[in-house]
């Protein structure tokens, strides 16, 4: 057995969840995630937790979308709703057997089925934000994800485990140190009024004054490594070009370029999928405004792999999300959309904070002042 799966399991249980004896842990995964699921379950049992499985088979939801009645499509199991109130911790393993299995599904029906799933996710989200449960989303390498990343499964495993730092001598220590550093970075960014991002075909001013920056260091995602906030809704001006494809609902938009005026997209084009991009921008009132701006800081993630769990953390990039903002960070934009667009700043990118150059060619110019206290940060 590959020991890296067990080490990833340990990081999730000890760092992300800080799992304690007697806690009820729900592990949600597709059957194909067995190589990670089984060590997670076993190690959780060894830690004295009550761990159990919610396992899905690839292909079942597809059958529901293809054949379900209206009633069946929008059905939310009362048992599943109550379940969300009984757990102390949850893990989602986002592993799929086929990442394109809904490509030909009826979009309207798929939307209705997702809306039903969303009710459960919201219930869990509420409990997470109240601090009642800890949750972490991670991934078990599969051929489907390797294929999306243009890699063999073996290469993809190496990529995933490097990104999660499970081969470090002390992975949990690594993520704690990342936490300290990103917390300090977030605190520093919290004093900034306006960011200016300059790169290839990009010159964008983003007002972030009064907003909270959040460090992401392996608590809710593994891998992790970003700091993010919701920008001031009327405070974005200029142009930005996104070098990597953007993926929403399984469909891609390539090489998107946007022009903002007073926080709203006023012009958009894309080399591929432009009609889809325009359709997304018109989805609702909030879809043409930004809900998130972030720095990707995981330098073990050095390439685009068509999976947002990794792509948004590529070291040396920034991303901007159109649509839904983060209320708890001060964001006010609301939308059914949250489209992450990734801007590669590794070669000629520069970022200025209130006129001062703070980032060049993919990294901050200096380490932040150490934060005094990170105990309150989750």
């Amino acid at each position: 057995m590959d020991p890296r799966y067990e080490r990833l399991a340990e990081v999730v249980l000890d760092h992300s969840l800080a799992l304690k004896p007697g806690q009820v842990l729900r592990i949600e995964a597709e059957a194909v995630a067995a190589p990670l699921f089984l060590p997670l379950h076993r190690e959780a049992i060894k830690r004295g937790a009550h761990a159990y499985a919610a396992i899905d088979l690839g292909g079942l939801k597809e059958l529901l979308v293809a054949h379900g009645s209206e009633d069946q499509l929008s059905f939310v199991s009362p048992i599943a709703l109550r379940e969300m109130d009984t757990i102390d911790a949850a893990i989602t393993i986002w592993s799929e057997t086929n990442t394109r299995s809904f490509s030909r599904a009826d979009a309207e029906r798929r939307k209705r089925q997702l809306a039903a799933d969303q009710q459960l996710a919201m219930r869990r989200r509420d409990r997470i934000s109240r601090g009642e449960i800890r949750w972490c989303g991670t991934l078990c390498p599969t051929d489907a994800h390797a294929q999306d990343a243009d890699m063999s499964l073996e290469e993809y495993e190496d990529f995933v485990f490097r990104a999660c730092h499970v081969l470090d001598s002390d992975p949990v220590g690594h993520w704690r140190r990342i936490g300290e550093r990103l917390q300090a970075r977030a605190a520093e960014l919290g004093t900034v009024r306006e960011l200016r991002i300059v790169g290839e075909d990009t010159d964008l001013a983003v007002v972030v004054e009064g907003r909270t920056w959040r460090p992401a260091y392996g608590i809710q995602n593994l891998p992790d490594g970003e700091v993010y906030t919701s920008p001031v809704e009327t405070g974005i001006n200029g142009t930005i070009r996104f070098g990597f494809p953007a993926i929403f609902g399984g469909r891609e938009v390539d090489d998107a370029r946007l022009r903002f005026e007073d926080g709203r997209v006023v012009a958009s084009e894309a080399a591929g999928g432009e009609p889809y991009l325009k359709a997304l921008l018109g989805m609702d009132e909030g879809a043409a405004a930004a809900g998130e701006i972030a720095f990707g800081l995981n330098y073990e993630i050095d390439r685009f792999t068509r999976n947002i769990l990794f792509d948004e953390k590529i070291g040396g990039t920034m991303h901007l999300a159109l649509g839904m903002g983060f209320e708890d960070l001060g964001g006010r934009n609301r939308s059914a959309l949250h489209l992450d667009l990734i801007c590669d700043l590794r070669r000629e990118g520069e970022v200025y904070a209130d006129g001062e150059l703070i980032w060049r060619s993919g990294s901050f110019l200096r380490e932040p002042e150490p934060a005094r206290d990170i105990a309150h940060v989750r």
Binding site: L38, H41, A49, L60, L64, H67, S69, E83
Partner: protein, 374 residues
Amino acid sequence: MSDSRHERLADVLVDFCAGVREGDLVTLESTTLAAPILRALYRRVLAAGAHPLPRISLEGMSESLLKYGNEEQLSWENPVRADDVETVDVRIVLEAAGNTKRLSNIDPARLARQQRSAERLRNRYLERAAAGELRWVLTAYPTEAAAQDASMSFAEYEDFVFGSAFLDDPDPVARWREFGERIDRIAGFLASKRQLRVVSDGTDLRLNVEGRAWISAKGRENLPDGEVFTAPLETSVDGEIRFTYPAVFNARQVDDVRLRFEAGEVVEATATRGEEFLREMIGMDEGARRVGEFAFGLNEAVPVFTRNILFDEKIGGTVHLALGTAYPESGGLNRSALHWDLICDLRSGSEVYADGELVYRDGHFLYGTNGWSD
């Protein structure tokens, strides 16, 4: 791969066995190895207008709990499973093991403890079933592990499994209805009897079944099916019985079990192999040394022993008794965390007497006697 027998099995399970109706909440319970039939069932349940709720486990989970769990973890009752048992309308359960011996080296005392912790939910669902609030069906999906236990190739074993459920018949449901009528007559005949005596090599056992219900198991709660069963009066079982087939429980095998009963209780238990495990199980609780079920196996499409009780207890020409808990609908009062079926082949040199009269010989009821006929 699409095996048309998968579709037929799904049809029989959903439409006939479980009688799934519009709006039902239906759990589909199995391991990931049963994926092809789970997909067929999921679709069939949707077609019936009901809501399929997959409850899928990965093999290896129970092993981790049994190996590494502490007392509290072993006896933990999952509130979600409890909610299932109280809420759902139908359970469709499919055995599908990748390795039937994976629990062989688990401490029997820990197995017994986990068994006890599962007892409350097991009783609750049997209660709801007896009250007509919940329908359930247990079946088996062929795996290499099960084929190996049966000493068959996978292809042979598939044929055995699907054949035993009459899926090769052009109309399996019609075949099950016809079969059901036949064994209903046997149950009706037995219902008029008080005392049974089973005589075979190493066996002379007497039991009283007066006032107890004989139930025909005719393809509703098990597939395959084919037995008539009851619960003997709790203090009535006397004599000795030798079980011709190995007794298998939680993947542990006990060979050549011999039990002596006095006034309904096991007073002597021996085995040529696994005797310690046998004693551990019998000592599990008060009810584990009493008989909760006595039954005749009647499915001629199950001719051989395959080390799987779902099939073995239905072998045409056998009887079995179960130590431990009784099915409430049979009128039995015995309760235990155990329900362990032990099988005795009566196909040669064997006789069964009912109230002193010979009614069964060498694996067959004697037709045309005693005012009933087939």
